[in-house]
């Protein structure tokens, strides 16, 4: 009856009771062209208290599988073969009414994006109470008590106040905790977690993963963890199902998959995973600075009141100075909201800033509008989501030629030749130039964006989370491409990322940002080999290690939230001072 009050009463180890058995599952979608199979011949058994990871890249059918188990497939998609049994219940033959009462009660699910899965106009408490009362005939008061217990169980700070808050008042990590509390309040036998930490920062991801593991130990819930992140798999799962194109490629214990992968695909997948310590020192000649930032400040006004007076400001970037030199990769790393993207946007002139940003010795502010256009040629940006960054109504050939058209470079024939040349450089074939962006895969689209950035032969390319939205194997190939182009053209890259492992792999120098300020700056060896600032250490430690044998040193569980960057006008965060601790390694005091 009391859901979570018995949490501490005992621990449950995986035993042999099979909770969920999927046998020969086949899911198809009906299209005009006939039936297409999305998942074919998938079988697995989930035991009590066990974590089973379903790993695979986008389009592998892992999310469809979870929706099939929940009975939540979209209208055109249906199960065309196989069985799904929850203990003795055949889920596929269950009528919708029975299925609904079972959802949440015996099988619960948490989604990737906690903001979209919570109702924005209801308080957290109301949603929890509703979820509990939908399945158990308890009074409103009793349900509220249980909701409070559930929030305490997921270690949310100030749980009493949280009950009366709305989802938008909580941070991403807190929202995902609420989702977990909601999922576990009814003590389901199976919890399906679909990319539960993908949208979260590394340090928050760490906390949520720890929490899931603790709750599982206490409640004995069987977890299906759907993820593309092999680091998360290694840390969480006992067994893994590796999927590709809707088929099971390999299934084994996590240890076996990582130590002795049987399938070629699994081997490739593991090889593509970025790991800290893989970065190789590069001997490329590093030249004069191509971009220099001096005391750059970016603030966004927050208007309020009847007359829209600026009462507060978001201090996105506070007194940041660094330079990027010809031929090097300079990385800015930090968690969401630390101001790294604001710097990128300030450098290309998309957001206003104070301080001085020089590109090849001149600042935008020094020039008349006509000359600014010429300066724009020297710095190009590649955005995170290539689909959003390409106009869907233009052919990719036109898109890549467009920078040349804007800057009136070459005749139409010359432009066409140049576009074909650029396509070859980024690994696309020239006969694809008359297609539209939606006809390409994510990795190919990012290549198109890179070709577009290269068209003007810039001195500096800013890669703003450019590989974050890509699958690991695609990510590895795009990173290889960037490196090859850098060597060939001697371009400087300002690489912006939240992924410590990727940054370690490709950077020459690294700056760690926290709340708009740089807290540590140095060469890759300095920052990763000898991290001095506690925040840098925390970031590095939080990265999931793709090695099941890795034993994580016990660290202090970090509670509490990142302070807000919003301050009243006139106020602001304390300015950090950087001190050289040797060899140009700057650390905040």
């Amino acid at each position: 009856m009391t859901a979570l009050s018995t949490i501490t009463s005992g621990t449950t180890a995986p035993d042999d009771t099979t909770v969920l058995a999927v046998e020969g599952l086949r899911v198809s979608v009906r299209t005009d062209a006939g039936e297409t199979t999305l998942v074919d011949g998938l079988s697995f058994a989930l035991r009590r208290g066990e974590t089973l990871a379903i790993a695979g890249e986008s389009g592998s059918g892992k999310s469809i599988t979870s929706l099939a188990v929940m009975g939540l497939l979209p209208p055109a998609v249906r199960v065309t073969g196989g069985t799904i049994r929850l203990k003795d219940t055949d889920l596929l033959s269950l009528p919708e009414g029975r299925m609904r009462s079972l959802r949440g009660d015996r099988v619960a699910m948490i989604f990737q994006e906690p903001m979209t899965s919570l109702n924005p106009v209801l308080t957290v408490g109301a949603q929890l109470v509703e979820a509990i009362r939908a399945h158990e005939p308890v009074s409103r008061g009793a349900a509220r008590t249980r909701a409070l217990e559930a929030l305490k169980a997921v270690r949310l700070t100030q749980p009493e106040q949280r009950l009366d808050q709305y989802p938008h008042e909580l941070s991403g990590g807190m929202r995902q905790r609420v989702m977990i509390a909601m999922a576990l309040a009814l003590r389901p036998e199976v919890l399906i977690a679909d990319e539960p930490t993908t949208a979260l920062d590394v340090t928050v991801q760490r906390e949520v993963l720890d929490l899931l593991r603790d709750l599982q130990r206490d409640l004995g819930t069987a977890i299906i963890l759907i993820t593309h992140d092999m680091g998360v798999v290694a840390e969480m799962a006992g067994r893994v199902v590796v999927m590709r194109h809707g088929r099971m490629v390999e299934t084994a214990s996590t240890l076996d998959v990582f130590e002795r992968p049987a399938a070629d695909y699994t081997r490739d997948l593991l090889a593509a995973v970025p790991r800290i310590g893989r970065g190789k020192p590069r001997s490329s000649a590093i030249g004069e600075p191509v971009a220099r930032l001096d005391d750059v400040v970016v603030r966004f006004p927050v208007r309020s009141g009847l007359f829209g007076r600026v009462t507060r400001q978001v201090h996105a970037v506070e007194h940041v100075s660094f330079d990027v030199r010809r031929g090097e990769t300079f990385s800015l790393v930090g968690e969401s909201g630390c101001g790294k993207s604001s710097i990128a946007r300030a450098v290309v002139g998309l957001v206003p800033h104070q301080g001085r940003i020089e590109i090849a010795g001149t600042a935008f502010a020094d020039l008349r509008p006509a000359d600014q256009k010429a300066l724009r040629r020297r710095v190009q940006i590649v955005f995170q989501d290539p689909m959003a960054a390409l106009d869907p109504r233009m052919t990719v050939g036109d898109l890549v030629a467009e920078p040349l058209v804007i800057h009136r470079i070459g005749s139409p024939a010359e432009r066409r030749a140049r576009v074909a040349d650029l396509f070859r450089h980024v690994g696309l074939s020239a006969d694809q130039i008359d297609r539209y962006p939606h006809e390409f895969s994510g990795g190919q689209r990012q290549r198109i964006c890179i070709a577009r950035a290269l068209a003007l032969k810039p001195d500096l390319i800013i890669a703003d989370e450019s590989v974050s939205a890509l699958d690991v194997s695609v990510q590895a190939r795009v990173l290889d491409l960037l490196r090859a182009l850098q060597t060939e053209f001697g371009i400087a890259i300002l690489f912006i990322s939240h992924d410590m492992a990727v940054v370690e792999n490709i950077s020459d120098r690294v700056a760690v940002m926290y709340l708009g300020q740089i807290v540590e700056l140095g060469t890759r060896a300095q920052v990763f080999g000898d991290p001095r600032h506690p925040y840098t250490r925390r970031l590095i430690e939080a990265v999931p290690v793709p090695d099941p044998a890795h034993v994580r040193a016990p660290t202090v569980r970090l509670a509490g939230e990142v302070p807000s960057p919003v301050h009243p006008v006139g106020g602001g965060p304390a300015r950090v001072r950087l001190v050289d601790v040797g060899g140009g390694h700057l650390v905040a005091e």
């Binding site: 299209t31 005009d32 062209a33 946007r345 290309v348 002139g349 998309l350 600014q372 256009k373 724009r376 040629r377 710095v379 190009q380 940006i381 955005f383 989501d385 959003a388 960054a389 390409l390 106009d391 869907p392 109504r393 233009m394 052919t395 036109d398 030629a401 467009e402 920078p403 058209v405 804007i406 800057h407 009136r408 139409p412 432009r415 539209y436 939606h438 006809e439 964006c449 577009r452 003007l456």
Partner: protein
């Protein structure tokens, strides 16, 4: 620059037209539009009688209109005039209202909406507050005022309709433009150094085309009926000039006795709006490259 645009654009219209004609519904809609336009243009030759002539045998002995059939294929109206002839001449008026006035309204709406949405700030605020003002103003009253100031004629009516009908388009395109302006690909264009004109013309406007088409086709029936309302109030097209709208309004009180007098012009308006709708829908799909190659 111009030659590149021309080279890119040259093969597209042909392709788009062929793809448009391959759609049965679009073809049907296009045929209807062509028929109406032909009827209006060739009315002097096609019409069996003078549209304003009151025929002696156009009324029954009791003075009621003649039902369709015989000498008058679509019957006659209350004054004994031939309905077919009036419908053909009326198509001229209705087409001018539905296409010209409505097109003008779309043009003003697009200009105001896109300008306000792109520039925001003081310009945008001023334009949108003016739009709100126009929205709050009773359209009919404004139309009556304008028509009263200028002496009523077809072109004044068209202008009046254009001046009251652009507000919805402006409002909707304003919202769409503001959200488009925030999209990454527009930011990407800015970092490439693209000018405002290029961004608006090549990257914003194409994305607004579907909305403009939908509003344009919806506007046709509304404007045709608004013209009828104005005519009914005496500030529109002056009698005896026929229009589809005023045929309905003149005869609606005798709906029970002579239903064809309301039914036939009503069906004509409906079919014209439907035809533009079908063509518009097809055009929207054909012009959207993201729909190409989809199963």
């Amino acid at each position: 620059m111009t030659d590149v645009v021309a080279a890119d654009a040259a093969p597209k219209p042909a392709g788009a037209l062929v793809r448009l004609l391959r759609r049965k519904l679009a073809l049907f809609g296009l045929a209807l539009i062509v028929a109406v336009v032909a009827g209006a243009v060739f009315a002097p030759w096609l019409a069996p009688y003078d549209p304003n002539a009151q025929h002696f045998d156009g009324l029954t002995l009791e003075g009621a209109p003649v039902p369709p059939g015989g000498a008058f294929p679509l019957g006659t109206d209350l004054l004994g005039r031939d309905l077919l002839s009036r419908m053909l001449y009326g198509a001229q008026t209705s087409l001018i209202i539905g296409v010209v006035a409505n097109g003008l309204a779309l043009l003003i709406g697009t200009l105001v909406g896109v300008t306000a949405g792109w520039f925001r700030g003081a310009v945008g605020a001023a334009l949108m507050r003016f739009t709100d003002l126009m929205m709050a103003f009773p359209a009919l009253l404004l139309a009556i005022c304008l028509a009263a100031i200028f002496s009523p004629s077809l072109w004044i009516v068209a202008m009046v309709i254009a001046l009251v009908n652009w507000v919805q388009t402006a409002r909707i395109l304003y919202t769409e433009t503001t959200s488009l302006a925030e999209r990454d690909f527009i930011a990407a264009e800015k970092t490439l150094g693209a000018g405002t004109g290029r961004i608006l013309w090549r990257h914003i406007l194409p994305h607004l085309v579907p909305t403009i088409i939908v509003w344009g086709t919806l506007g046709i029936s509304t404007t045709v009926l608004l013209e009828a309302t104005l005519s009914f109030l005496g500030v529109g097209v002056q009698p005896p000039t026929p229009s589809w709208g005023n045929i309905i309004f003149e005869n609606q009180t005798y709906f029970q006795a002579a239903p064809w007098l309301v039914f036939i012009p009503g069906a004509a308006i409906l079919l014209l709006a439907l035809a533009f709708n079908l063509v518009g829908d097809a055009l929207r799909d054909v012009l959207d490259p993201t729909q190409r190659g989809r199963a």
